[in-house]
């Protein structure tokens, strides 16, 4: 039972309390770039959940079974970035070949995610906190869910914001960043959760 409690705490902590975008600033590019419409941001969110969970799983296996065993943990940055880049590419090819419908839904977003520093960030955090395979995967999933929540809320606000009269200098990015700042304040409310 202790395990389950830990997992829930890790999940809530990563998804809400220290939200990957709003308090860690990881994955800002897609958060700002692909949040114009709810539909596309949901697609992006799904792709991120898929990739980060998978990447956490794979990098955790590699970290525990290769790097830790052979005392090469200092190589983790190099190894993780290459593994993640190769993994995203591989996933894209597999989806294209065997799962056409899923590829059509996620395909456009996959190449974008490789750059997403959130993927590398989660893998490094998992290694830093010495999470085991299960914890790493759950943490990865929770972080990605946090990203999805943030990007969908942002898209919802931006869709409404189109009808607003915004000063010229603040149109585009500045107003989106202010919205993100307000969302970050709102997410502080979750800090009492744990």
């Amino acid at each position: 039972m202790g395990d389950l409690k830990d997992l829930i705490l890790i999940g809530l902590g990563s998804a809400l309390v220290s939200n990957v975008v709003l308090s860690q600033f990881l994955g800002l590019c897609p958060f700002l770039g692909v949040s114009k419409k709810i539909k596309t941001s949901a697609g992006m969110g799904a792709a991120v959940i898929f990739v980060i969970t998978l990447a956490s799983f794979v990098t955790s296996i590699i970290y525990d079974s290769l790097l830790v065993r052979f005392e090469m943990t200092f190589l983790k940055t190099i190894v993780f970035i290459l593994v993640i880049a190769a993994l995203v590419q591989l996933v894209e090819m597999i989806l294209k070949k065997y799962m056409k419908s899923l590829y059509e839904a996620l395909g456009v977003y996959l190449p974008l995610i490789t750059t997403n520093c959130a993927v590398l960030g989660v893998a490094l955090t998992n290694a830093q906190k010495e999470y085991n395979l299960l914890y790493s995967t759950v943490n990865g999933f929770a972080v990605a869910v946090g990203f999805t929540i943030a990007i969908i809320i942002m898209a919802g606000i931006r869709e409404k914001m189109e009808y607003n009269d915004i000063p010229k200098a603040f149109q585009g990015m500045p107003i989106v960043l202010i919205t993100a700042g307000l969302m970050a304040i709102a997410f502080f409310g979750f800090s009492g959760l744990l």
Binding site: L22, S23, Q24, F25, L26, L28, C29, P30, L32, G33, V34, F74, L75, K76, T77, I78, I81, L82, A85, V88, Q89, E92, M93, P111, L112, T114, T115, C117, L120, G121, L124, T125, Q128, K168, A169, F170, Q171, G172, M173, P174, I175, V176, L177, I178, A180, G181, L182, A184, I185, F188
Partner: protein, 250 residues
């Protein structure tokens, strides 16, 4: 070196280019992750900026040295490995000699690997130009980044804690606006910065100047980063891989 050439190919010009013309933060808006996350104080800004500068300069030199050896098809993964090696070295050095900085920058040190600026410079400059110029290019860009991070860090520290570089500069009656050193403050500061940038752009365009360079490398849409001189998402060129797959199939 002839007169005409000095304008494009001189160390001084490269440094000025990085500091002013193509300032990665204020003009191109690249590398926003570290800019927001590590500017909670001026010291952190300097630390992050200088670490990035060293990585950028060294990786530019090595990439430029190897520019005729690295096959075009695997250049991005090769660049990444070179950059990641230097990042790892810097991480270990910081851990050994500046532990306080290592602790406060934390995960953002290894994340220098995915900083748009470094791969962008490798792709847009170091892989084409000679070693000495690539060195100065990296140095200039890095210093531009450092200046920007320090300025933002000092601004946030001034309002968020009433201090600059740890020295109290505000009068005692000043109540720190703590939000500035917290996460939302980073977004607000960046929002103000982009608004100023927009305003400069609007005014400049009214005067008929070419302002196409000023703008967001990353924030508008990630997909345009490639054309603006490279961004980290370029590190897997999907069309290349697809062409390769096509070739293999045939």
């Amino acid at each position: 070196m002839s007169r005409e050439k000095t304008s494009i190919f001189s160390p001084k010009e490269r440094i000025l280019n990085g500091l002013l013309t193509e300032n990665p933060t204020f003009v191109l808006m690249l590398g926003m992750c570290p800019t927001l996350a590590t500017t909670t104080s001026a010291v952190n800004g300097v630390g992050m900026g200088l670490t990035t500068t060293i990585v950028l300069t060294l990786s530019n030199v090595i990439i430029s040295l190897l520019r005729n050896i690295i096959p075009n098809r695997v250049r991005i993964p090769s660049f990444i490995v070179i950059i990641a090696s230097f990042v790892t070295m810097m991480e270990l050095l910081l851990q050994g000699f500046l532990p306080f900085l290592y602790d406060s920058l934390g995960i953002y040190i290894p994340l220098i690997v995915v900083n748009c600026i470094i791969l962008g410079r490798a792709e847009a400059y170091a892989s084409k130009e000679k070693v000495s110029l690539s060195f100065f290019d990296g140095l200039g860009m890095g210093l531009g980044f450092t200046v920007a991070l320090t300025a933002i860090g000092a601004f946030r520290e001034l309002f968020g804690a009433g201090e600059v570089f740890g020295f109290a500069v505000m009068p005692d009656s000043f109540v720190p606006i703590t939000i500035f050193i917290l996460a939302p403050g980073a977004f607000f500061v960046l929002a103000i910065l982009t608004a100023i940038q927009n305003q400069v752009k609007i005014v400049g365009e009214r005067k008929g100047k070419d302002m196409s360079k000023i703008g967001s490398g990353c924030s508008e849409d990630c997909m345009s980063c490639g054309e603006n001189g490279g961004c980290s998402h370029k590190f897997i060129d999907t069309t290349e891989v697809k062409n390769q797959a096509k070739e293999d199939a045939e």
